[in-house]
């Protein structure tokens, strides 16, 4: 025995001879520390099984890193760091390569998935919900892969269930895409309708001709909120450009006689009219209707 070598160094050399397993230079310092800690006082060697256990302990961090890289590269977002740490903790062969590590991880994951729900479908939804909580969403291919893993975890991969699961996921995705496409088309149509309507608006100069009134009358009715101004555009000189919906103007012709002879209305009715400057239909609606409903009710003294 070389007197310059520590007992741990010596025990390591003997263990390498016994098992044929050499640590890498990077692993050696930590392994030596563990051997020193576990070496029975006075003993010159450690049992091969003990050596293998210590080497596994040293290698677990690297194994976890390998698995982490492999799962990230494969886009397996449903595999958590806890799954990986759990899996490498179950590996007791220091010769383990990526295949063994991967198989152990698959077994660990399958165990966790089986605990997550009673049926594969529940589990698939639960995993997706967990990922969604963390702000992660799976692509179609990833969902297919996850469906295979879940089916395999439940031992139903050869029963057609896996295919059914994948098919139903695919159908769901296709439905989502159909909904989005339909929504897009309808939004486009509505935007075009709006644009066409806005282009149909007329300026103040055309109002007297449409209503058969004088410009002065038109201005007065605008001030009284009788004539709905559909669009007011501020001008550089501080004035506003008014635009009107010709269809609404045509419908208002029938009321002109009343306007010419009638009162200006109450402040509330004027205010209510102003809420709905472009659509005649608004006159039937919320504010005015509610105010009148309340007032009608309040004035019905016999109820109280």
């Amino acid at each position: 025995m070389d007197s310059a070598r520590s007992p741990a160094d010596h025990a390591l050399a003997l263990a390498i001879e016994d098992t044929g397993l050499s640590p890498t230079p990077k692993e050696e310092p930590r392994l030596l520390k563990l051997i020193a800690r576990n070496l029975v006082p006075g003993a010159e060697r450690i049992l091969p099984s003990e050596y293998e256990r210590l080497l596994c302990d040293v290698r677990r961090k690297d194994w976890a890193a390998q698995l982490m890289n492999a799962t990230r590269r494969a886009g397996e977002l449903w595999i958590s760091k806890a799954d990986i740490l759990d899996a490498v903790g179950r590996v007791h062969d220091p010769r383990a390569g990526l295949d063994l590590l991967r198989n152990t991880l698959n077994d660990t994951l399958a165990g966790r998935l089986r605990e997550m729900g009673h049926t594969p479908r529940d589990v698939l939804e639960a995993v997706q919900a967990d990922l969604s909580d963390a702000g992660t969403f799976l692509s179609g291919g990833q969902i297919d892969r996850l469906a295979q893993i879940v089916a395999s975890a439940f031992g139903v991969e050869d029963t057609g269930f896996e295919a059914e699961l994948i098919a139903s996921e695919k159908a769901r995705r296709e439905e989502e895409e159909r909904i989005e496409a339909r929504a897009e088309a309808r939004r486009k149509r509505e935007n075009e309708r709006l644009k066409a309507w806005e282009e149909s608006l007329v300026g103040f100069d055309q109002v007297p001709a449409i209503l058969h009134c004088t410009p002065r009358e038109a201005l007065r009715w605008i001030a009284e909120n009788r004539l709905p101004v559909t669009r007011r555009t501020p001008q550089p000189d501080g004035t506003e450009k008014f635009e009107f919906d010709p269809e609404i103007l045509k419908r208002l012709r029938a009321q002109l006689a009343e306007w010419r002879g009638g009162a200006r209305g109450t402040p509330a009715s004027r205010a209510a009219r102003s809420v709905m400057p472009s659509l005649h239909a608004w006159q039937l609606l919320i504010v005015m209707w509610r105010i009148f409903a309340r007032r009608a009710h309040s004035s019905d003294a016999s109820r109280w």
Binding site: E115, G135, A183, E198, A268, I291
Partner: protein, 512 residues
């Protein structure tokens, strides 16, 4: 009827309501509606309840307690009460207050709120041509600023420490636990039930200190001796800005509950501001409101009428038209409420076939969390509904042992709770598609119980200590300059809860 917090507005108005032949009490929160109902029952007045998520019918009752959004516009009553009228200025919910104040069919209407809302109420009365009596109540126990700044270690039993994000609340909780204090927390993401349970722990002394966001400002009876601000700036969804005098008064006003404390004290943590600033803010007159146009938004009648007018069955088309042409930004009398979320939902629902316009409008009003992928989930539910399939309620997800739960698990549970709120809201409106209400109730209860159990854990949690918040050096002094809203961007590879053989699990099938 206006007055600061703790001036007895609700008490006075509830007495009037109880003496009326028929009445309606409208509250800003579901739990407050419950409290109004309980107040009426305690006065010997039978009352029903209507909120977005639940209904309680009391046979023969002529009084109803409801949330403001549930205001019944077709049932005339003798007296109505609308609480927290300063919500008129809230961009998200203000339109519901406008509609309720303008449209509630009551002979007498009591409007309760902070003094700042008076000009807006006057404007609404003017628009309606209605007479208005103004009653101003004074605070019953005096409120004063503390004479010196406070250190975290100096917080005492009965103190409420105010922060402005969930993350800050949980950071401060962790720090206080480290200092050996017993802590309760209240923040917006917690369900009303959990908030109430935490408030009860604080009120009965089980917890010495309450750490809360400004969610504390509304809806909870809290026996707070001193309110301590941990910061005098907040992120308001758009920018980080100084707190207004009204916000300081509203939140600080929670200190010194009448009958429990002789006076209320408002203080600030040493690094966040000075007592002089607090004193100045408390003495400041109400800030003038520059925008006096009440917020309005369409209801289903209006949506239908506009759709008929423009001859479309597209909710998207209706909302675009309303925004662009019906109630324009320059309207002299009214402002259109912020309807961005409704707009987004309507836009996404355009592709779902088989739903009527009114049904789409109901979906557009559903309370969802957009940051939790809420719109896609809602489209999935609507798609099932339209296809005649039943929509199963969301599950609780994995609920680990409360002692093992970190912030990530807590946040997930809060999100799942919100999904259940949305599902239950829809189940009251589409009972034929959202059928399994019992499971939804059970899951909601399970989540509430679990969140309560997590918050009850008073041991120092290592997970929390490892992750320092922005502006905080672990173990060192806090700084308060760079606050941003909390967003969890970690991947599922990080921070997963350890696999625990004792894991509690209760999962029900369902989307999300």
């Amino acid at each position: 009827m206006t007055g600061p917090t703790n001036s007895g507005k609700s008490y006075t108005a509830l007495n009037a309501l109880a003496n009326a032949e028929s009445g309606l009490a409208l509250a800003p929160l579901r739990l407050l509606a419950h409290e109004f109902r309980e107040s009426l029952l305690s006065r010997g007045v039978p009352a029903s309840l209507a909120t977005g998520e639940e209904r309680i019918d009391f046979p023969g009752a002529r009084h109803l307690a409801a949330t403001v959004e549930m205001c019944p516009f077709h049932n005339p009553v003798d007296v109505a009460l609308i609480d927290e009228a300063q919500m008129l200025m809230d961009p998200d919910r203000g339109a519901a207050w406008t509609a309720a104040i303008m449209g509630v069919p009551a002979r007498h209407l009591y409007i309760l709120g902070a003094p700042d809302c008076i000009p807006l109420i006057r404007r609404i009365a003017e628009l309606c041509d209605d007479p208005l009596d103004e009653i101003t109540l004074e605070r019953k126990s005096p409120l004063r600023a503390a004479s010196a700044p406070v250190r975290l270690r100096d917080l005492e039993a009965g103190d409420a420490l105010i922060a402005f994000s969930r993350r800050e609340v949980l950071d401060l909780r962790a720090e206080l636990l480290t200092l050996g204090k017993r802590v309760a927390v209240v923040y917006g993401a917690l369900s009303p039930e959990v908030r109430r349970a935490e408030a009860a722990r604080f009120n009965n002394g089980e917890a010495e200190i309450l750490v809360a966001t400004d969610a504390i400002g509304m809806g909870l009876n809290l026996s707070i001796k001193r309110v301590v601000f941990s910061a005098l700036r907040k992120y308001d969804g758009k920018q980080t800005r100084d707190l207004t005098a009204q916000e300081i008064k509203q939140i600080g006003g929670r200190a010194g509950r009448y009958g429990h404390h002789e006076n209320g004290i408002v203080a600030v943590l040493g690094e966040a501001g000075t007592p002089a600033h607090i004193r100045k803010m408390l003495a400041a007159p109400p800030e003038p409101i520059t925008e006096l146009r009440p917020l309005v938004q369409p209801d289903s009648d209006i949506v239908r009428a506009v759709a008929e007018e423009i001859e479309t069955d597209s909710l998207y088309g209706v909302l675009v038209r309303i925004k662009r042409a019906v109630l324009r930004a320059d309207d002299p009398n009214y402002r259109l409420a912020d309807m961005d979320q409704a707009f987004e939902i309507a836009s996404a629902l355009e592709g779902v076939e088989g739903l009527g316009l009114t049904q789409r409008w109901v979906y557009a009003m559903c309370p969802i969390d957009e940051r939790d992928n809420g719109i896609s989930r809602l489209v999935g539910w609507a798609s099932d509904h339209a296809a005649g399939r039943r929509v199963p309620p969301p599950g609780t997800g994995r609920l680990v042992q409360p002692s093992q739960a970190g912030r990530e698990e807590l946040e997930r549970a809060e999100k799942r709770h919100k999904r259940l709120v949305a599902w239950r809201w829809l189940s009251l409106r589409f009972a034929d598609a959202y059928t399994d209400r019992q499971t939804a109730e059970e899951n909601t209860t399970a989540l509430n119980d679990w969140i309560e159990a997590v918050l009850r854990q008073q041991s120092r949690e290592r997970k929390h200590q490892k992750r320092a918040a922005p502006g905080q050096r672990p173990g060192g002094k806090r700084t308060f300059s760079k606050r941003q809203p909390e967003r969890d961007s970690r991947s599922p590879h990080e921070g997963r809860a350890p696999k625990d053989p004792k894991t509690m699990r209760k999962r029900r099938p369902g989307r999300g």
